[in-house]
Symmetry: C2
Subunit: 241 residues, 2 copies
DNA sequence: TTGTCAGTTTGGTATGACTAAAAATAGAAT
DNA sequence: ATTCTATTTTTAGTCATACCAAACTGACAA
């Protein structure tokens, strides 16, 4: 039975597993399989599709690879309805490997700066009253934990996160989440100095002020300076890579 | 309750395939396995690692899923040294599915506009003589194929591509490539009118002029208008999704 | 009610076998 | 000798079976 996959992906796929994958995939997207849990066991798949265990396993593996399933070593797979988050998780995982290339880390951080620079410009020109309020609140939380480096790091991320929400496009928060995930580990091995927190707080404050004055150029300039500063801080932790 | 994915990989990975994958992976990254072709056959893997065929196959599948290998139905897998291109390929594949969500397509296009807006600003402020020359040449090519819609579409992409090269960061061209891949199919089912080509050409021309005048605001404004226009053109082709 | 333990389910792995497509090789035809 | 063709070998795809160990379930005892 030669079955050509409808339209799109790779040219010739006549593998039986692909058939199974197609069905199960649709079943996930349609919501027939809820996001929470429980995916048919390998044996159940065998029964339903009349395929060998080999094929059933392979199908599951493929779904896992696409981020539609999550599998723990000896557990039943869990359904993971894909959102933009899933995408960036997969992306992040790959990036993790790509940064082995010379300068890779820096290039990714460059992109982060690029994106966030665009976002603060947007904030300066389009931020609503609500956006401003969110920024203010985040800034206040920065101040509250300025003595606790651990907490400050979290509130620092939260402040930046606000910018990613302003366009009202879910892709942006996903991107931010991806960046944070990626940096988290390294950020932690960075020396924590309250003076540094204060410095970052002041940077945030000045950026917010530029936004309040509706001055995108100034906001961008300050943001770039702030992130470049941050980059210098974490840069060394990537040395061993 | 969310799982804290902060520390490294998942704790319990006792799968034999993972061991094999780790070794082969390193072998690819180290360059021991050249990008071109030839990956150990399943039997060879069996021999080297003393594992069953099941495990060998699974290992290969995982590598394929990560984009390090490319497998055609009945061929020997070929090594694909991962670049940023690989990342965006995987990303693109997933995005393909995500656009099933309401408004998903528009959101992605929004991101494209956002990114490119930032790029033209950069071009207006930082473009080198070479960059300008590339833009000029691309624009001339636009003019040359203004009567041939098929060719114009290609040269149109080329013009935009130049912006992605200006930062000198390979991530950007990869992003562009990803966008194009994603749009290609839909763009094709769009009515082609020479007058539209002319309109696009003029937009490109005006953008280049703004860049030559080192006026980022104007360049961004024109770019946004240009892409919004383009969006209106393709928008309808996504209706059935 | 709670903790323990045996039975069941399920994924992980190993074998062995068979098919069909691809690659390699030998052989025939020019 | 070169080219084309037929045959052999290799290899991925699939199936069936079996066993183990971890996870899950539920009955039973404390």
């Amino acid at each position: 039975m030669k079955q050509g996959s409808s339209a799109g992906a790779e040219p010739p796929t006549d593998r039986a597993a692909d058939r199974v994958v197609a069905v199960l995939e649709r079943r996930i997207y349609s919501g027939e399989l809820h996001d929470g849990q429980m995916f048919p066991s390998e044996r159940e798949i065998i029964g339903e599709f009349s395929v060998s265990r080999t094929v059933a396993r392979e199908a599951v593996k493929i779904l896992v690879g696409r981020g539609l399933l999550e599998d723990r070593p000896r557990h039943r797979p869990i359904v993971r309805k894909p959102g933009y988050g899933t995408v960036t998780n997969v992306l992040g995982g790959l990036v993790q490997h790509l940064i082995g290339q010379p300068g890779g880390v820096g290039q990714i951080f460059e992109v982060r700066i690029f994106v966030e620079a665009g976002l603060v410009r947007l904030a300066a020109t389009d931020a609503t009253k609500d956006d401003i309020r969110h920024l203010r609140e985040a800034l206040n939380r920065n101040w509250d934990c300025i003595e606790d480096s651990e907490a400050f790091y979290e509130s620092d991320k939260d402040f930046h996160a606000v910018f990613y929400t302003i366009p009202g496009n879910p892709v942006f928060p996903a991107i931010h989440h991806s960046f944070c995930d990626w940096l988290d580990g390294h950020w932690r091995m960075m020396p924590r100095l309250p003076e540094r927190n204060r410095r970052n707080f002041e940077a945030h404050e000045s950026i917010l002020n530029a936004i309040l004055e509706r001055d995108p150029d100034q906001a961008e300039r300050l943001l770039r300076s702030h992130l470049n500063d941050a980059w210098l801080q974490v840069k060394d932790t990537f040395k061993d890579l």
